[in-house]
């Protein structure tokens, strides 16, 4: 299912294969409606996109799976993911703002809002 959702669009100018542009509001609403299960699936798909784009395993998908079982483990995956976003921005030629701590705190306290903000940053990269 992750493979289908993360179907590559086209090669980008800076990095590897571009990911899919998603509506951040949809991500937020689906996360709320499914009580966070969609947010775990969303992170799973985004991790695959990131690894494809960077051409390396920046985030190990094995750490995303326990999202609904052991919160600290998925927080570690969030941390790895958020810390690799500036590399993607650099590769795409998008201005990189230092929002890592803000994103991590949001993913910890308000994961739906955190995923909304991260999706906005990703869309900037994919639309470049």
């Amino acid at each position: 299912m992750a493979d289908a959702a993360a179907a590559p669009a086209a090669p980008s100018s800076g990095g590897g294969v571009k990911g899919k542009v998603e509506n951040p509001t949809t991500v937020l609403i689906l996360g709320l409606v499914t009580c966070g299960l969609y947010t775990i699936y969303w992170l799973w798909v985004r991790v695959k996109e990131m690894n494809d784009y960077l051409g390396k395993q920046a985030v190990n998908p094995m750490f995303v799976v326990p999202g609904c079982l052991c919160f600290p483990v998925v927080l570690y995956a969030d941390y790895l993911y958020i810390w690799a976003i500036p590399e993607m921005q650099q590769k795409a030629g998008v201005e990189a703002k230092d929002e890592k701590v803000l994103h991590l705190v949001l993913m910890l306290l308000l994961p739906y809002v955190g995923s909304y903000m991260v999706q906005q940053r990703l869309n900037e990269i994919w639309q470049k």
């Binding site: 799973w44 094995m62 079982l69 052991c70």
Partner: protein, 149 residues
């Protein structure tokens, strides 16, 4: 290239995570049945999520009540093995500086499928055993109405 000292610190931190989890389960045991419900799915919809019961199962298992732990989450030994595997993976990665050559994507996909398959099976049993009544009683709106009454 990381220095040997930095690697040793990282290794010590990673090595302490699983024992810390087990210690937390052991010491949380007296409060595990009276603690707050943290699962958003249970709080909002009155439905069990794939991980519901896992904290209680781990706490019970940490005190040697393995049979009782099974009744709260039948997959807790598998999840414990998975966490132990992740722990070992990180230790090896930190020690060697490169991750072990394993099909991590495939392992993660199988684990994710197992989690969702278990959840589907849990929901089937939940509704077959009168879960709709539980859901009607335990969802957030019903709780708020009861609190207001």
């Amino acid at each position: 290239m990381r220095s040997g000292r930095s690697r040793a610190i990282r290794l010590a931190i990673w090595a302490s995570t699983l024992p810390a989890l087990l210690a937390a389960c052991f010491f949380y045991y007296p409060f595990v049945f009276s603690g707050p419900i943290l699962c958003p799915m249970h709080l909002l919809l009155g439905l069990p999520c794939p991980g519901c019961g896992l904290t209680r199962a781990f706490c019970l298992a940490s005190r040697g009540h393995f049979g009782e732990a099974y009744s709260f989450h039948p997959l807790y030994p598998l999840f414990f093995l998975y966490f132990t595997f992740l722990w070992g993976f990180k230790l090896v990665e930190t020690w060697r500086g490169t991750p072990p050559a394993l099909p991590t994507g495939r392992i993660a996909r199988v684990a994710l499928l197992a989690v969702f398959a278990f959840w589907a099976e849990r929901l089937v049993f939940f509704f077959a055993l009168g879960g709709l009544d539980v859901m009607t009683r335990d969802n957030l709106i019903a709780r708020v109405l009861r609190w207001l009454a």
